[in-house]
Amino acid sequence: MESAAQRKRERSPVAMMKFWPKLSRRKPQLPAYSFVFFALFYLYIWLVVRPDLIYHGFWITTTFPVFSTGWPFFEEFLVYPGGPVEWFAALLCQSYYYPWAGALVIAAVAALLSLTAHVLITALCDRRPRVLHFVPALLLLLLYNRYVNPLTSALALLAATACACLYVQMPFRKTGHRLALFGLLSVTVYYAAGGAYLLYAALCGLYELLRGWRRALGALCLLSAAVIPYVAGEFVFGLRLRDAYFRLLPFHPDSNPNQPIIVACLYAFFLVAAVGVVLWERFALGRRRAADGSASRPGVGHRKRLAAVFRSLVPFILAVVVLCASYDRDLKGLLRIEYYACNRMWPELLAEARRLPWRHHNLLVNWDVNRALYHTGGLASEMFSFPQHPLGLAPSPATFPELGMTYAGWMKLSDVLFELGRVNESERLTYEVLEFAGDRPRFFQRLSLISMAKGEKQAARILLGALSKDLVYRGWAEEFLHRLNDDALLSADPEIQRLQSVMVEEDVVGSQRLDWMLTQLLTRNTHNRMAFEYLMAYYLLNRDLEGIARNIGRLDDFDYVGVPRHYEEALLLYASGAGTRAILPGRSINPDTRGRLSEVARIIKLYANDPRAAANVLGAEHGASYFFYFAFGSPGDGR
């Protein structure tokens, strides 16, 4: 039986150091398959996730930081803890515009997090982890697969864990030296990464308590997690406690509001792993000691090789599981639609919209689809091939607040109104969005175009000046600034000329109905084709056949060949309702359309007592017709 003194001697730091030093010299070394893993990680993010979808569709899934070059913007981040990492994350996020570059950033952060996990685990338990250190990368993969952008939190985490690695790796033995190092890194981590400092302090504290056997120092480290944020927040930065302690941590209100639990798991992993591996090591150590002296079994080498192969496959298997579990095809479809809308890729947008289940066709998709239909010439003939919301064109500004939309909706409306020529309404909506979503290049681009169209050159210059501080749109802004200097009226710019030719000049205050706004646009310019098609679409959606009949004569202001399908259908319905013939001077109704109307009327009559059955029967063949919409109030999903 061991005496108490003997046990105490064995547990003393000196005694432990006899055992640990040999182990602590073991250097962290990532397994070779890690490189394969992160190469695949990179390719997946680049080619499948596509960070540019996050860049363009940031408001659908996640927050995306605003960034601007120049000192004034940078200066804003220097005055509070966590600011430097926020700034750096905002800078790196701009790389998402180029999917290959964004993927590189994400993969690099994931790899570095895994590396820090590897170093910390190796330092704490003296065993090089084979799989465990992949967990942060897997969690990041999960988040990005769901189009959450946790880069700011991840970078703060990286700062904390990297400094913790530095701390545990430094070969200082004296407590004073270690304390000084801890203090120096504490200031750095807290200032750079804000609340992530708590993790740094905890990791250092745990290391000293569990591994370094400097209990007082360990306790001091843990205590500093409570003290330093308080002191810095109260006496240095003048922060509220919430900001002093938790800024950049997952549940802080200014942090990414999406998927905070998974981001929290990312943070918690390091703590759990730190404690877990030490406990595991002690348990395993006990078993090893017990097994000391026992003969090795034959065939172990072969099994070891098999086990090693299996272990190397584990992260890949886990990655596949994570990807399969978190992949959301429909979410990706929505983001792709947003991407195509931003880049005015209309045919691609319609193709994606056709793939998207109808239940996901929300109001925003509806506006994009109708805009794409207009640009591809299909609004008057294919509109009812897609789900249509009663407000699916563009609600009147009067109804904006009641719609309770996010700022994504406001910006989309701004897009529609801008193209129509309602520049003041578009300007207002863009400023409303800018107030909430921040100084984003897309807004400045829109506002500068509006200012140029309105002849407000100086205002345009300032807006272009702000835009020229964006890394992605800088070229566009500088080109326009040069053009403004050369040609103040921008007489050669087709977009500005188009806007000037269609924009409203008559000043009316207050909110008006959409049909009134569109009619005003047509009064301003009878050749505003978009206004015409939207006006007709408005009447179609509202089943206002009288409106269609009243405005069908405007077809002559444009270069339509024949009568677009939905107008034909509406005119036939109008004629049948009014008991007259559809009159179209110089144009004729397609006999096939008359035939389809007869067919639809026959089936509706046949199922007079069961409209649902009628809709089911008609859906496949006539679901995309205006007849169907007129009869049932929504298009039929005949797919």
Binding site: W71, L239, R240, N424, E425, E427, L434, E456, I462
Partner: protein, 513 residues
Amino acid sequence: MNKRHVRLFLLLALVGASLCLLWQVPSGRETAIEDAQPAGRPPRIRPDYANTVIPPNIGPLNFCVEEHGAAYSVKIRSPGGQSLRVFSKTRRIRIPRRRWQALLKESRGREIHFDVYVKAADGQWQQFDTITNTVAAEEIDGYLVYRQINVLYHLYAKMRLCQRNLENYDRSVILDNRSFGYGCMNCHTFFDHATDKFVIHMRSAEKDYGAGMLLSLDNAIKKVDTRTQSVPLLAAFSSWHPGGRVLAFSIDKVRQFFHSGRTDVREGIDLDSDLAFYVLDTNAVLSVPSASRPDRLETWPAWSPDGRYLYYCSAPKLWDDREKSPPEHYDEVRYDLMRISYDVGAGAWGEPETVLESSKAGFSISLPRVSPDGRFMVFCATRYGGFPALQPDSDLYLMDLSTERYSRMTCNTERSESWHSWSSNSRWLAFSSKRDDGLFMRVYFSYIAESGTVGKPFVLPQKDPTFYDSFTKVYQMPELIREPVPLQGEEIARVIRTGPWIRCGLPVTAATP
């Protein structure tokens, strides 16, 4: 790092420093400048700091020389012989602060001259006609407090109350609305251009924090809810009585609406407004009965410096519906300039008098502000309405209160000028103007001579002279104060979040202490 590395590092540092020096100081430039050819015209500079009157304590007026060239030089000289020279490889001329201040100090009440030289690509320097500015004898108050916001429409999220040191470029945030749930703050009003007594009106986006008036008395903030049964709305535009015990304010039911075809999209309207006042000692709020008529709109209170009169603006209410926006005949509302006497001892109000009728003046009057010496009043004139900042045609008018004669100030442009504030010595006027672009309000300063002559305005100087080229925020409600606001940020925000609201009541006596 071994010795070899150290030597290499030092060598590289030396080479770098030499290159920097060579870049900044082209050889023989002094000689070349002396031989400069005259350009025969003044240089184009931005911001326009030419032929203006500047305070002797203003920070350096950094500017850009808008001339093509390979190098730039500016010599600033005083009549006393002191001078400073600035060289720049770019168009940006940044003037060293200490030497600038010494030069201004020596030039008080006299002119200073700016000689601008531009070096052409062929190495020949060109000298432009000298720019002359006058340094006033009177200083401007050292700090400017303003609200920094985006171009706001219906919604608001981010706003800051900032203060700027006018003697340098230091700027600090007094209150950021992020610290109280992105609430709204407006109408900061200082007593006697000092900071021991001021109010900020706020209302919280998160209802928990409430709405009302933040009253700072000797560095202690109180939250005062000025709403009572007789004064049911929040206080808005305010003015301190010179005694410091009474705060007059308007209660306004403001709404925005939008134009479809006008360049300036926004417009504001007061659907209803009245005047009231808050008595500090009794924590009471009272309406001003004769300036709270249901058939009229009364707003923009401003005390005369002797405290005997409260100036304000008043217009007939042309609509019955207090909810409809825009109301009927909104573009026919014209405010008269009124005043009402006040007996401080008895706390008694007199009868309203019309100082200037809008029908006679031909415009609507708003935002009257009396100079601290009581000599002048500056107000805004617009074709109609009472929100000059949102009216493109808003101009500043100066009224000599001894004669009640008024005239359009020479500092106006065809764009909107508004939100003016006097300095404590009555010689400087700060105001917001959209003159540069019609959209973004910037702060300008004009010298007002004792005779009423108005100096050419100059924009608030910035360290980076191209600052305004990309700055998309607006400066609203600039207020000149003599000293910095001592309470800032979390000190105020904490009170907003946690402090109790002090409810106002009816006073025991109507007399004002």
